[in-house]
Amino acid sequence: MLPGGCDIHAAFDSPTGLIYPAMDTGNLTLRTNSTAHEILVDPKTGRARGVAFVDSVTHKSLEAKAKVVVVGASTLESARLLLLSKSPQHPNGIGNSSDHVGHNFCEHLMGPGVTGLVKELVGKEHGIEDGRPGGFYVPRFRNLSDKQPGFLRGYGFEGNSGKSIFPDSTDRPGFGKQYKKEVRDYAGAFINMGGFGEVLPRYENAVSIDPDVKDAWGIPVLKFDYKFGDNEKKMAEDMAVTAKEMFEAAGIEVIGVDKELLTEGWSIHELGTSRMGSDPKTSVLNQFQQSHDVKNLFVVDGSSHVNASCQNPTWTIMALAWRSCDHLADELKKGNL
């Protein structure tokens, strides 16, 4: 996918695939520059009755009325919005009778990996290999049929190799003619791969409303209590050791092993702050990402994921959102909402 979307609408992106078609129905009003800060509650029924927001251009406070409120602000902002929406009916924040909103925050684990040199490729002329599909992927293999002593769950490897338009050898040491020759000779002779693992969901890994700090609109921001645990550290150790073993078995000269974990939050796939489940005491949303507490409230983003697994989450988020919308449409037709 191209950053910023595909100009000729050949590839999927939200405007092309979803927003323009929705506008074509005539039933969509898109209100940009609107920062929502509270889901409003009907004091009689306890149900959601709309959203309070600030127009970010005029700074005016406004309200939108709604039969159903669907939140899709992404994991962190959705949790923030729910937690900010306190009312006598929902003193912990809307949809939060379980005290699980903001908790079980999880994401992915990156950092450990290996770099190798394929000696046979040093000094080779450029071919047309840049035209190949790029990169390779080793799917998860830990804790499937085996049982690792050190950690639960697993990780995959993502890697790349081959010549590209910009040489991958520019960090050869030194400068001058020797440097220039080495960049030329070593271009495309490297191969590297790194682990992409699961951070376990744990109740104590949580986001909450910061009592002191507010954003530009005067809305309280999130505070993070989030740390990798022993499972993540053991998994990271295994990533580095296993990556090295694989390269050595393939006859690749290992020239570098990264062992360090990239810091918490680096891998950007934030998930799990309003987890899905069948028990309203230990989960926030049902299987349709509908609030257990407030039937006309849905959260359709990564918030509902009960764990991060070791894959990129976007397709799962989209598939679940689609299912939620089907359910919502059914329920509206049946008059249940």
Partner: protein, 187 residues
């Protein structure tokens, strides 16, 4: 010509006679009105980049590829004003080091003395294997930090230039092939 370009050109015209023959040639040959660098700074970047990536038997070097101009363009378009300051501070530090080591400015030093200054700057370079997969942290204001910045910007500009891509790397890219697949190297 915009007002800024005119100012740059005028400033260049005023300072040019003060510069040495070689960097002067570089400036006049490309008729380049720097937007961020002063003519003296531009001449210094031009020379430093050409020492890092010189002409060899395969391809022309950084000067021919107009690397200094590309660095100036990128800095002029940069959103972070700190970047320009880091470069100006770094270039001043190169001149300070040159005066300390050679008793004169970088461009008035002999070619050997210039290489000695760069060698000194490069001595802090991290050559530990295993760091390839990570982008190095923000360059510090130290001379070693500026060396990494200078080398990074030089390689980035050079290997994205026509000279770098074609003359040096012999990049073939996606070659349009009809009929039977001609293999990895269809030329």
């Amino acid at each position: 010509m915009t007002r800024r370009e005119m100012l740059g050109a005028t400033a260049a015209a005023l300072v040019l006679p003060l510069l040495e023959a070689r960097p002067l040639a570089a400036l006049t040959r490309y008729n380049f009105a720097a937007r961020v660098f002063t003519p003296a700074e531009f001449a210094l970047v031009d020379e430093l980049s050409d020492i890092i990536i010189p002409t060899d038997e395969v391809s022309p070097g950084a000067r021919e590829a107009r690397v200094a101009g590309e660095i100036d363009r990128r800095l002029a378009d940069a959103l972070d004003p700190e970047q320009v300051k880091r470069w100006k501070d770094g270039l001043r530090a190169v001149e300070d080091l040159s005066r300390e080591m050679n008793g004169t400015t970088f461009l008035k030093s002999t070619p050997e003395q210039r290489v000695a200054v760069l060698t000194k700057m490069a001595s802090t370079e991290d050559e530990t294997p295993g760091s390839r997969r990570r982008r190095r942290a923000n360059p510090s204001s130290s001379i070693g930090g500026f060396y990494r910045q200078l080398k990074g910007a030089t390689t980035r500009a050079y290997y994205t230039s026509k000279i770098g891509i074609h003359n040096d790397q012999h990049y073939k890219g996606n070659v349009f092939q009809t009929g039977e697949y001609a293999g990895l190297d269809p030329t």
